[in-house]
């Protein structure tokens, strides 16, 4: 990264010595860096320069505005400190305050230190989603509008791009097509990736909602189904909400904050979410065949069967 540009940026944000940049995660184009100015920690989320914009999802500057809009509604989010401009010479992105806590799903489900947090987390997630779904979309830009049928079609196309035919996926697509909800009468801002793994949790529970790049306008029940996908329960199949909470607590939090729940619809979205994750894992096979040498990538391609066995159980229920 351009060190001189970084030092100029740090001077704009706060006085004090700039600490070392630590790469947190992300692929070659989408990057997450942690750094400090004096005693305060920040996170830079950026695309590398020259990187093409994401094929789906919102731009990083729109994502920053979304996070601010959510924060104004009382959703716990990282504070946006600065949105990169061309003068910053660092590509597209934004700087946010670092939020302390645990983001690894398996630890959120198991860590003894988070036992108290787990008792309130499902209700807090319901509350946060209800607030997200109440955000006034007219002030937001760059958001795609997707009906349930659009999303089924999007993932069906992605599945058919792969070479392997899958009887279980075909059965799930037929079920989803037959039961497909009408476009929501009350379309809302949908987070799009609200699950255990994309939330920051501390001893008091939900500390921040992260990863807003798949936000769109659609059926708010999509978010309620996605967080219940079994792959994000990390072994706690008995606790449908992220492996840490019950549907009753989750729904109570959602309704107490003013949201309305269509339970049959949530079930449909849970099936769609499981299939969506399944199709995403099959995309890893294409990456492997294109020469990606990551062992992790190859192992993700072997997670398709977890979604198949869960889809079989859901289809039989």
């Amino acid at each position: 990264m351009n060190q001189a540009a970084l030092e100029r940026l740090a001077a704009r944000i706060a006085p004090g010595p700039l600490g070392e940049m630590v790469r947190l995660s992300g692929g070659a184009t989408q990057q997450l860096w942690r750094f400090s100015i004096g005693d305060v920690s920040y996170v830079l989320r950026r695309h590398g320069q020259g990187a093409p914009p994401a094929a789906i999802g919102v731009s990083l500057s729109d994502e920053a505005r979304l996070i601010e809009a959510a924060g104004a509604k009382g959703v716990p989010v990282p504070r946006i400190v600065h949105v990169l401009t061309p003068e910053d010479d660092l590509g597209d992105g934004f700087v946010m305050a670092h939020v302390a806590g645990e983001a690894l799903g398996a630890r959120i489900v198991r860590s003894p230190e988070l036992a108290t947090a787990r008792q309130r987390l499902a209700r807090q997630c319901g509350d946060a989603l209800s607030r997200i779904h109440a955000i006034d979309m007219r002030k937001l830009t760059g958001l795609a509008r997707q009906s349930p049928a659009d999303i089924v079609e999007q993932w069906h196309r992605a599945y058919r791009d792969g070479t392997v035919r899958r009887p279980v996926f075909e059965a799930a697509f037929r079920w989803l097509g037959a039961q497909c909800p009408e476009p929501s009468a009350a379309p809302a801002l949908v987070h799009g990736d609200f699950r255990n793994g994309n939330i920051m949790v501390d001893a008091d529970g939900l500390a921040a909602v992260l990863d807003w790049e798949l936000a769109h306008i659609g059926d708010p029940m999509e978010d309620l189904g996605w967080i219940c996908v079994n792959s994000w329960r990390f072994g706690r199949t008995d606790l449908p909400v992220g492996g840490f909470g019950t549907s009753d607590d989750f729904y109570a939090g959602y309704e107490a904050a003013g949201g309305h729940i269509d339970r049959a619809n949530v079930r449909w979205w849970e099936m769609l979410g499981t299939l969506r994750w399944g199709v995403m894992t099959t995309g890893s096979l294409a990456r492997v065949r294109d020469g990606d040498m990551s062992i992790e990538r190859a192992m993700i391609a072997r997670r398709t069967s977890e979604t198949e066995i869960d889809l079989v159980a859901m289809l039989a229920a």
Binding site: R166, P167, S305, E308, D310, A316
Partner: protein, 123 residues
């Protein structure tokens, strides 16, 4: 005839090396993590060597019955997928549903034997 140790016996030692020697020696967290993923990957290959052929033979037999002809496993599986997509095969038919469940169980036994799948209605 190839000499022993078997592929499984050799790979068991590769996984042992990755866990017992490589992981503790790799101080960079992302390398230690990758060594763990590598050990898990070797375990998966061992399970496929142990269980894969029998599972695919059983799947192949069931598909011959369901589709009513003999062909390669890939062709018959594609025929089942096509039939379900076209509506000519009902995935809720007890024979078809039993096949989909059995095949999913054969696959997860290789991929992730400890995966906590959603319970089946009758379990």
């Amino acid at each position: 005839m190839q000499d022993d140790p078997t592929p499984q016996e050799i790979l068991t030692r590769v996984a042992h090396f990755l866990r017992q020697a490589a992981m503790p020696a790799l101080t960079a967290p992302h390398l230690a993590f990758q060594a763990r993923v590598a050990a898990n990957a070797v375990d998966l290959v061992i399970r496929q060597l142990d269980l894969g052929a029998a599972g695919e033979a059983a799947e192949h037999d069931r598909l011959r019955t369901l589709i009513g002809r003999d062909d390669s496993l890939t062709s018959l599986n594609t025929a089942l997928a096509d039939g379900i997509a076209a509506g000519s095969i009902d995935p809720a038919n007890p024979l078809v549903a039993a096949h989909l469940l059995a095949t999913s169980r054969e696959k997860i036994a290789v991929d992730q034997p400890h995966y906590a799948a959603l319970p089946m209605k009758d379990d």
